[in-house]
């Protein structure tokens, strides 16, 4: 997979584990790349970089099979977290540090180990109203 068309925009990517999110809105399936949706990115699942290029994001999505006999309306795409420790390897020496106060606030001394989390159900709701 090397490129996708999304809402008229052309996106190039070459990493295998970049995920594609399927999103069910009004029974139509919109295929979109999570990385390129800035409206749900504020302080949310982050891009994970290594050696100056984008490795992946810290949140992935998949869509469960929908049966016509499911008792409840489908919830849509399901997310799971893939934080930085899955990608970092042995921590290199001399990584950039937070100040002591910022370290406490972030729960780690190194920005390179920080993977924030927010309720994905909230961002899904926000996104539905944005994309409506």
């Amino acid at each position: 997979m090397t490129s996708e068309t999304l809402g008229g925009g052309y996106i190039n990517y070459s990493i295998d584990y970049v995920d594609i999110r399927y999103e069910s809105v009004n029974n139509s399936i919109i295929r979109s790349m999570y990385e390129h949706e800035p409206h749900i990115k504020n302080d949310e699942p982050i891009d994970i970089w290594k050696g100056g290029y984008l490795l992946t994001t810290s949140r992935k999505w998949y869509t469960p099979y929908v049966s016509p006999f499911d008792p409840c309306p489908p919830l849509g795409p399901i997310s799971y977290e893939t934080p930085i420790q899955l990608y970092l390897g042995f921590q290199p020496q001399g990584m950039e540090q937070f100040s002591p106060f910022d370290a406490l606030a972030h729960g780690t001394l190194w920005p390179g180990l920080y993977t924030p989390y927010t309720n994905p159900y909230l961002s899904k709701r926000k996104e539905l109203t944005t994309n409506g």
Binding site: Q91, Q93, P100, F101, A103, L104, T108, L109, W110
Partner: protein, 89 residues
């Protein structure tokens, strides 16, 4: 019966300064456990530990001992047992 006196407002900000320095020490400790040869991290650990000791001394002079079994001194009468405890503030 009167309610016990509350800690002054400054307690929270002073405590946070100490928590911040000590958290850096927690992080450096775990890091050095797997990176024992990182000299820069080691120097940072030692200088941060000194800074923490200074802050702790000032904090204890204002609000009472933080450590016990002899690791903090006490004024008279014995202050260690005084409330509030960390889960109360």
């Amino acid at each position: 019966m009167a309610e016990p006196t509350q800690v002054p407002e400054s307690y929270y900000s002073d405590l946070k300064s100490l928590q911040a320095i000590d958290f850096t020490l927690v992080e450096l400790t775990l890091y050095l456990d797997t990176h024992p040869n990182d000299l820069d991290a080691l120097k940072q650990f030692n200088s941060t530990a000194k800074k923490s000791a200074e802050l702790r001394e000032g904090f204890e002079a204002r609000y009472g001992p933080l450590r016990q079994f002899g690791h903090s001194l006490s004024a008279y009468p014995w202050q260690w047992k005084d409330t509030p405890w960390p889960w109360q503030v």
